[in-house]
Symmetry: C2
Subunit: 690 residues, 2 copies
């Protein structure tokens, strides 16, 4: 039992994983190249020549008077560089603070893990297999620190590169909108794909290289090897915390500030260049919805991979040194890249968007196609890389699992993701009755509107929770905590497509902003608005994915914690666990209260600054003078840097404080409670706040 080997030999795995990763990176470079062909410098050639030169075989679909005007192209380039500079400067500021934290935390990890055996360099008996000798704790301390740093840097890089390509693509999308909605869509979507594939492939490649390098030292001590690899997940997710919170505060503060004074009080259009907060608003889309979302999904991806690997290392895969099944999580992600690549071609090359109303179905089709193809992909990977039966570590015992059961674990996660995505979309899209009801209620004023909105947010929780519950039940029953981890990976296996769709939204949003600011024709603005509307809806799908996978990942991590802490039951009927549960369930509220308060204060400051500029800068409303964009950018930057610390501290310190003062039982209650309640709170927001 558990010793029959996989169809795919070790050498096959060693080739397949890096090749898929490199293909992913190459594909994203090709997409980038295609986007870069849209020139932001106005050249003297006629449009026809320029189009040929760009490799597009068709001509401008419509020519509008004055649209090829050099000043407009130059204006677009200017605005783009302002947004890009704002975003870059914010991210550098953020990374400066986060970097300090990262180094401090890395030192802590080293000291903490190293001190377990007083920095001894002697080998020691393994934790799970006492007969074998494992590498010293000092080695684990060093390698964990290294993998933590690798994870953190990869996370920051993912966010940063995503932001860069997004700010590279926004003005280009605007210019393409002149040629038609289909062209603009393809530019925005390709740029999203650059980010999606870069992130997925990069995450996979770094993890793969780290495993192989660490293996040179650890040799047959897989227990130690994969324990130190978990640092990668920790690094990824702790950066995600700051990226998400910091970026989120930035974007919401700027958004609320810009809209409240501009749209509501001054009655000027969205993204009007006279609005002092307009650049901050557009920067926010890039640092919050692009860089933040990128870090976030990378964090989930890294954590679920690491959780699966660490459980596998003490299951039959690890015990019998079966390399191919051991790398099953990475193989799933590798095939995921290929599947997403094919899926992307459906949107960019196989079909063509001709009308506005085709955009949203096309994006949804992406999700459906990738899910169907990936189901086949999972089946193939499972069939060739996993023995027909094996055992999985399950809180002290070994659980017998068959390969088709493992397939079902991954598949149920994948499909739960699709269901959550579509339900979230249903509750946020204006095509369906829920949002129409809310809009309807506006007739009677803000109070009923808020009631309906809240009710809708709460109601949108129901089906996703059932989907998550089914995924948990199936994967937990079949393959314990390993099942949960691979279900999360299943949900994230189409991450490249998911991110492409996600990133597409803010890029279109920005494109619209640039069109408005550059003073382009309202017909262009209508096109970008249509792109944006589709993007907003599908962004909700992305958020659904992020939340669903986060729920599964946190459960997998919870399982890993419980396994490591040698806890075999977490009994609700003991006072320690129960109060942990109830206090833990409160934490997401506390966290939300902190971040909402932060957004509120930052928005207040922004509103006051925007009002001040409108009141004191003469000729601003008439468009004679330029507003002071930089001050607004600074307000958002300062507020989000300052305000991301308390919620971050709450998340990081709670486990340490609870664990130290109340013990692991209460801590496991706290973790379970905040996990269970966190899913609800975030899910209710994904419907509400959008």
């Amino acid at each position: 039992m558990g010793t029959s080997s996989a169809l795919l030999p070790e050498i096959g795995t060693e080739i397949l994983v890096p090749v898929c990763a490199v293909v992913g990176i190459a594909f994203s470079l090709v997409q980038w190249l295609l986007v870069s062909r849209v020139k932001l410098t106005s050249d003297r050639r006629s449009p026809q020549n320029s189009a040929n030169k760009n490799g597009y075989n068709d001509y401008l679909i419509e020519e509008e008077e004055g649209l090829n005007d050099h000043t407009i192209v130059a204006k677009c380039a200017d605005i783009q560089s302002a947004i890009s500079e704002g975003a870059t400067s914010f991210l550098f500021t953020e990374y400066k603070y986060v970097g300090i934290f990262m180094i401090a935390f890395a030192i802590l990890i080293f000291l903490f893990l190293g001190s377990v055996e007083s920095f001894s360099t002697k080998s020691q008996p393994c934790t799970y297999n006492k007969e074998k000798m494992c590498k010293p704790a000092l080695a684990t301390a060093i390698f964990s620190t290294v993998s933590f740093l690798l994870g953190a840097v990869t996370s920051l890089l993912s966010g940063f590169l995503g932001m860069k390509i997004a700010t590279y693509a926004n003005a280009r999308t605007t210019l393409e909108a002149r040629k038609g909605v289909g062209k603009a869509f393809i530019t925005a979507f390709r740029s999203g794909a650059v980010m999606g594939f870069l992130l997925a492939a990069n995450g996979l490649l770094v993890l793969y290289i780290a495993i192989n390098l660490f293996k040179l030292y650890y040799k047959s001590d897989w227990e130690g090897l994969f324990e130190s690899i978990t640092g990668y997940g920790l690094g990824g997710s702790s950066m995600a915390l700051f990226g998400r919170v910091g970026g989120g505060i930035y974007t919401k503060a700027a958004d609320v500030g810009a809209d409240l004074v501009g749209k509501v009080e001054r009655n000027i259009p969205e993204d009007d260049p006279r609005n002092p907060a307009v650049i901050a608003d557009n920067v926010g889309d890039n640092v919050g919805d692009i860089a933040g979302m990128g870090s976030d999904l990378f964090g989930s991806y890294a954590e679920s991979s690491c959780a699966a690997l660490v459980v596998a290392s003490i299951s039959s895969f690890g015990l019998y040194h079966q390399f191919t099944p051991m790398l099953y999580p990475l193989l799933i992600s590798s095939v995921g890249i290929l599947v997403c690549l094919i899926t992307t071609l459906f949107a960019t090359d196989l079909f063509e968007i001709k009308a506005v109303k085709e955009i949203e179905p096309s994006l949804k089709k992406q999700l459906i196609i990738s899910t169907i193809l990936m189901t086949v992909g999972i089946a193939i990977v499972t069939w060739i890389s996993v023995p027909s039966s094996f055992t999985i570590y399950n809180f002290g015992t070994q659980k017998f699992v068959r390969n088709w059961q493992l397939f079902l674990c991954v598949a149920v996660g994948l499909w739960a993701g699709l269901i959550i995505g579509f339900v979230t979309e249903y509750y946020t899209s204006n095509a369906y009755s829920p949002v129409q009801d809310v809009a309807d209620s506006c007739r009677t004023g803000a109070a009923t509107n808020v009631i309906f909105g809240l009710a809708l947010g709460y109601k949108s929780v129901i089906i996703p929770i059932f989907a998550i519950a089914v995924a948990i039940f199936v994967s937990f029953s079949f393959a314990a905590m390993y099942g949960i981890a691979v279900a999360a990976l299943g949900m994230l296996s189409t991450i490249a497509t998911g991110l492409a769709i996600d990133a597409y939204g803010p890029i279109s949003d920005n494109a619209g902003g640039i069109a408005e600011m550059a003073g382009m024709s309202h017909r262009i603005r209508e096109r970008t608005d249509a792109l944006d509307a589709a993007g907003n809806t599908t962004a909700a799908i992305g958020k659904g994915f992020a939340i669903g996978s986060a729920a599964l990942v946190s459960l997998a991590l919870f399982g890993a914690f419980v396994s490591r802490a040698n806890i075999t039951t977490v009994d609700v009927l003991t006072p320690k666990v129960f109060i942990g549960l109830i206090v833990g369930a409160m934490l997401p509220y506390w966290f939300s209260a902190m971040t909402m308060k932060s957004v509120g204060s930052a928005a207040l400051k922004m509103v006051e600054e925007v009002r001040r500029q409108f009141n004191t800068i003469a000729g601003l409303m008439e468009g004679h003078t330029k507003p002071d964009y930089a001050t607004c950018v600074k307000i958002s930057t300062d507020a989000s840097i300052k305000e991301m610390i308390p919620p971050g501290a709450l998340v990081m310190l709670t486990p340490i404080i609870v664990g130290t003062f109340f013990g692991v039982e209460t801590l496991s209650g706290v973790l379970a409670g905040s996990l269970v309640s966190g899913v609800q709170v975030t899910e209710s927001f994904s419907g509400y706040v959008n």
Copy 2:
């Protein structure tokens, strides 16, 4: 161990409990008599004579021109009877539906419990003590059904009587406001006290009589006796569910409807008689905040008493047939009535309210005084009625408990209630910074206001949750589930004072409405507004109590369920329990979504009706024609009756469906999950919605 007897002999208990209950009822009648001396019929005597005749030793503090005008008094009487009729008719409609449900449910209980031993009339071995013979299951079925009906009827009666006294007192408070704010305060507060004492004493007396009557049959079979008594708690709480939901939908729909059109669109004052929804709004206060709140707190009180009794019956008290310690829960409530009686005198007789700003401190002083006195009361009761050591049933084992530990269990519940009350008040009172911050944020519009409001609601959860966690930890550690149940009783031991304060709010609110509608001077309105403002804040305290005790009660019931289902561990690390937990945590959101949606739809209908009347009834805005109040009352009535069914069904059916299809393990997960998450959701609302 556990056989040493209590200081208080059985006969002492048999006298003390009913005497306290009767004293409570007598006190409430005296208060009612004092309120009734304010005449609503205008008599021909001079004010001086009338004042003497009423037993008041002072004269009208101020005489305002025309205020003793007969037409105004008659108008007040008219409006009062309109409100009273609306409320009575709503409650009768509600009770008609609830009555059908009650009878159907009673039949179900009988069939279900009776069929366990196929309606056999033979004695059977006891569940916990197999050597002894207990009464047949058929007897338990009959007596459980009887106690269920008793609980249900007592709950309905409590709500109904509360509503009656409230609608009896509102116009009297208005008239007393002519004499000064102090007089009006005393009238409103006395009326609240009538309800508080009537409810507390009634609940205690019915329970006491039921125990003694059932004992005539059960004799020494205390296990069966107290198992059938639990029906009382079930009856009380199932009526509370409908009372709370139905009344809540009614009051919020009418309130939102009246305010949105009247205050916001038409710019007429609150409670203006021209507003067609004004009567419905005032009726709503009585059926929602009075009758609903009364049923709710009675439900919690009955459930915690029953939970404590059923655990005690299988602990040493029950095993050794120690009657006095067995009735410890009732003794606590008895002393609570005496303590509240003394506390009430502080407000009505020992101190006098002279200025508006003294009202709120005076109400808060009530809470502090009752808590301090009750601490002493608990100590005395525990000392005289409980042996110095005894054992308590704890999931299959007997736990050794000392009397001072039991004292601490009750006291920690009592003080946690005070803390929760004051924190809730802090977050809702406009005297402190949180609400000022929210008000501040209105400067910048609705969006930041909602963000700050939500953040505040979420933040207000933190300290109450810690207070509840401490109470649970202390009482659970000392005396297992019995500890939790008596902690809940401790929190509810000052229920008479709590309800008096609670009921005071809506009465003052109504008084203000009547003043406005009767066209009384704005100085009267200012006084009633001041009373109302204090009442709104302290109502938040009441809600805090209700939520805190509900959390403890549901935990105690959860413990009772788990004990009866023979479950000894509820392990989060099993898939069945975990998905139960996550789905259970979703249920409060589902429930909230349903009720909010209901409120929203009802409010929409109300708004449309009010608009329709303003638009079609000629001369309405000018005050020449009377609006059609009855249609608005009917809209609220119909909506709340129709809409209370789905949330009610969700609550009642979930345990049955989950238990039947997924088994008790998943069910225990669902219960724990919804308990933990329900506390947060309701607590966050108590700060937000108020």
